[in-house]
């Protein structure tokens, strides 16, 4: 996906009428979310609705992905390579007790490859009238990755493709509802990126169903594109 802004503009302008109504109001956003959730429940692809006080809430999905080989930032929390604090030493009472005798019954636990947990939230942005994707990736011990580490975890071929495009719009910001640091795709470029993607899908005859664009279509597409 290497679409220049100028091209994107041309594409956006040539999109069918319904698609130019891509601007969502909050009510339509919630309606789309409900449709997506219903569909997601059939597909069992893991989207859920996290409700907060009042009517506020967001779509959420967490997935696990194995790490590419050779990528290993402190899988073992190994930031203190030298002097390991005494608190992290094996506990003699536990390690000499029945736990050791249990070895026959217990598979070695770290036989599987290291994984990253990816958390995606889709919120509604009032100012841009678009869905906004917030995301973060963390190791199994709950440590969030820096954007650079995330880059490293992306396959180089894919990374090259992304470099010229969407991650340009990634920034770090506090999650507006949770107050925790997240990365997010800045909404000002959502339309620019989604325009060509939607157009390409139309050209390939995907989602030809007439109701698609009226209902959850663009939102669903947003999710498929970014997560």
């Amino acid at each position: 996906m290497t679409v220049q802004p100028e091209q994107a503009d041309v594409l956006t302008r040539s999109l069918p009428l319904e698609m130019n109504c891509r601007a969502l109001d909050e009510e339509r956003f919630c309606r789309c979310c409900r449709l997506i959730l219903r569909r997601s429940d059939q597909l069992r692809d893991g989207w859920s609705w996290e409700a907060l006080q009042g009517s506020e809430g967001y779509l959420k999905k967490t997935t696990l992905r194995p790490l590419p080989a050779g990528w290993g930032p402190e899988q073992d929390g190994g930031e203190s390579p030298g002097a390991e604090p005494a608190a992290l030493q094996p506990d003699p009472l536990v390690s000499t007790g029945s736990e050791e005798e249990d070895a026959d019954l217990r598979l070695p636990s770290n036989s599987s490859s290291p994984v990253l947990q990816w958390e995606y939230h889709v919120l509604y942005s009032c100012s841009y009238a678009t869905p906004v994707l917030y995301f973060r990736a963390f190791t199994l011990d709950g440590r969030s990755l820096t954007l650079e580490e995330i880059w490293k975890s992306i396959h180089p071929n894919f990374g090259l493709r992304l470099q010229n495009c969407p991650l340009n719009a990634v920034s770090q910001q506090e999650h507006p509802l949770l107050g925790q640091p997240f990365f997010f795709l800045h909404p000002c470029r959502t339309e620019e990126f989604m325009g060509p993607v939607l157009q390409a899908a139309l050209d390939h005859g995907r989602y030809a169903h007439p109701g698609f664009w009226v209902h959850e279509g663009p939102m669903r597409f947003y999710l498929e594109t970014w997560t």
Binding site: R44, D104, E119, N168
Partner: protein, 668 residues
């Protein structure tokens, strides 16, 4: 070869081995624990109820996890769809010592006893989730944002281990397609009937085309004879030869509650890939149930999680980067700059900018604006020198000060500027020096005290200049710029002079001397042109100039510094001039002028360029030579003499005379 190894192999294979849970914490869990500790628990160390969940739909290769997310503290809250909840007990200690000293064996035994009692009393049949409990021991060091933790997934142990009577098989090996569909329907029905989306344990009967299911509590109704009993367990493991941890305590329950010798176990796995649901990879085990000693003494228990080193010890995660507000500010500032680089100038060498040490001589209108722009560029090392206090007229033009700073005679500018930088961005490394800079024609020899003070000031300034990479001359008298110019020229530092965007004073290209280093539009040829009363009136104009001027000038000075830093020759870069505007720029950021001369009335800039002036009173070879040979004795001579001393020394006086003579001769 003997057949012994083979025998051993098959022995091992027939031994039932369980995949232990790997603890999986979402980032939000630690944020929530921090909130709980600060707002609710405080010093309360009593055990707390928390909730995790596990899932049986993972693709092969993922570890078998028990996940805790930020909602873990809301025990009555919803569990993610099609996941099984696991209740846990949180022991959050107040100190690392308490964390270490906690008797983990006792914690485990207490929990195991509860499970054992529930099995004995039959309560576990009614509420089988008790079979899948966990313990979490934590210590949150909220000063360093280090979190120590240790999970335990208690499991009761059969004294003799467990044996399979035949190797495990997948569901599709033993069930027809029709039976598999029936099983799936039956399981969904059981969920629906129970009002949940995942049933952790269930009973099962099947024929060639039907499958029936029931909850554990309906055992007696469901199984009329116990010849053939199948029990299902929602299994989070993805390995084809092994069950996950939840089965362990279920087997104890089965062994204790029935007289069966063999039980068929369905490890139920339910995966949906791209919309296609499949349960056929579920695994069926035939397990021989050992006889349990016929007394009520609790079985031995295990379950503490190994750390990543494979040892029976706790884990620690350092979250300062994502939780310490100061670290967050730093990473956000850096990230913003990186994004700017990605978007605009991929070849920009940001490290060079960020690591540049900047000395700001003057913390006034220009000093404040230069400092703020440097902060915007992520520059960490900023030092102020100023001898003035903040006055009432300052805050509106000098963005590092406020009204309060003017009270009681005013705070020292250099110190107040440092405080404010730290408030704006704690990651900055700022220092302030409240000191004067000796000037030519301003005698320092009134007393021994004044002389030695001047010497001290000179030494301090020399030290500061040698410790920094770039020196900004942002003072409001030109004389005060002489000394730092001499020192910096001698040390070959990049120097930015206070700039003037002046609509009145014409430039004089022929006489301009761009000094060995850079000057961003000096007032006029700066020190190079000697000192006159006319100059001084212009100097004073700076503080009463249009308010936007200092911001424009401060911003340009910093942007110019950044451009210079991107040039391969750095401070020795050849000057760009206005004529170069159509040419290939020398750096990724564009031109590198030595001077920017602006005209606010026309909103226009020009980039003059000229050769170094060999009669400059500050940076000409003769001055530098004297300074380098004689040091302070030369400097004090300059301070104590009249203005003409330097002009005589450099030959400027002679030049003036010649010029005047020429003009006189030329006049009609």
């Amino acid at each position: 070869m003997s057949s012994l190894p083979d025998n051993n192999d098959s022995m091992v294979q027939m031994l039932l081995q369980f995949a232990p849970f790997s603890s999986a914490l979402e980032a939000g869990f630690w944020h929530q624990l921090t909130q709980k500790k600060l707002n609710d628990y405080r010093l309360d160390e009593s055990p707390k109820c928390i909730k995790g969940y596990y899932y049986n739909g993972d693709p092969v290769g993922l570890p078998t996890r028990l996940t805790l997310e930020f909602s873990a503290f809301d025990v009555d809250g919803p569990t993610p769809a099609r996941c099984c909840p696991a209740l846990g007990t949180l022991y959050n200690t107040n100190t690392l010592d308490a964390f270490r000293a906690t008797d983990k064996k006792a914690l485990l035994e207490k929990e195991a006893k509860e499970i054992w009692d529930a099995i004995q009393s039959g309560a576990a049949l009614k509420n089988p989730s008790i079979l899948c409990k966990f313990i979490l021991l934590t210590f949150a060091d909220l000063k360093k944002y280090h979190f120590y933790y240790w999970f335990c997934f208690p499991a009761l142990c059969f004294p003799e281990g467990l044996k399979m009577i035949q190797p495990p098989v997948t569901l599709e090996q033993v069930f027809s397609q029709r039976q598999i569909s029936a099983l799936q329907e039956s399981y969904d029905g059981l969920c629906l009937k129970s009002g949940i989306t995942a049933v952790p344990f269930f009973l099962m009967k099947y024929t060639e085309d039907t499958v029936e299911m029931a909850l554990l509590e309906d055992w007696k109704k469901f199984f009329t004879d116990t010849k053939k009993v199948t029990v299902g367990v929602y299994d989070p493991c993805t390995l084809s030869q092994h069950p996950g941890w939840p089965l362990r305590n279920l087997l104890v329950l089965l062994a204790k509650g029935s007289e069966m010798e063999v039980v068929e176990l369905l490890c139920f796995r339910d995966q949906t890939l791209q919309g296609n649901r499949s349960i056929k990879h579920s695994v069926v085990f035939q397990v021989k149930l050992p006889e349990l000693p016929n007394n009520s003494v609790c079985l031995k228990s295990v379950g503490w999680e190994k750390n990543p080193k494979g040892a029976m010890g706790p884990r620690m995660v350092n979250l300062s980067e994502c939780m310490d507000p100061k670290r967050l500010a730093e990473s956000s500032v850096d990230l913003n700059l990186k994004l700017m680089r990605w978007r605009l100038v991929p070849s920009l060498d940001l490290d060079k900018v960020v690591s540049t040490k900047c000395l700001l001589l003057g913390a006034g209108t220009l000093g404040c604006n230069v400092a703020r722009t440097l902060m915007g560029w992520g520059v960490r090392h900023i030092t102020f020198v100023d001898n003035a206090n903040i006055s009432y007229s300052n805050p509106v033009r000098q963005p590092l000060y406020e009204f309060e700073d003017c009270l009681g005679g005013g705070k020292s500018k250099a110190m107040a500027a440092v405080d404010r930088l730290n408030k704006i961005f704690p990651g900055v490394n700022a220092e302030g020096y409240n000191m004067s800079i000796p000037m030519p024609g301003h005698p320092v020899n009134f007393s021994q005290a004044t002389l030695s003070q001047a010497q001290k000031d000179v030494e301090q300034l020399e030290k500061l200049i040698s410790e920094h990479d770039v020196v900004f001359l942002l003072m409001d008298t030109r004389e005060s710029r002489w000394l730092p110019t001499v020192i910096a020229a001698s040390k070959r530092k990049v120097r930015k002079e206070k700039e003037k965007i002046n609509s009145e004073y014409p430039c004089e290209p022929g006489k301009l001397a761009s000094i060995t280093v850079f000057s961003v539009d000096d007032y006029f040829p700066s020190i190079c042109k000697g000192v006159s009363t006319r100059d001084r009136t212009l100097d004073q104009q700076c503080t009463v100039s249009r308010p936007g001027l200092a911001m424009i000038a401060g911003a340009l000075a910093v942007e110019l510094m950044v451009s210079i830093l991107q040039h391969s020759e750095g401070g020795y870069a050849v000057a760009s001039s206005s004529d170069d505007r159509m040419n290939e720029p020398p750096t990724s950021l564009g031109l590198v002028p030595h001077q920017i001369r602006g005209f606010l009335s026309r909103f226009d800039n020009v980039l003059p360029a000229s050769l170094a002036f060999d009669k400059c009173t500050a940076c000409s070879p003769v001055v530098l030579d004297h300074y380098e040979r004689e040091g302070f004795s030369f400097l004090s001579q300059v301070f104590n003499s009249s203005h003409s001393f330097l002009e005589d020394l450099t030959g400027l006086t002679l030049l003036h005379q010649e010029t005047q003579a020429a003009e006189v001769n030329h006049s009609p």
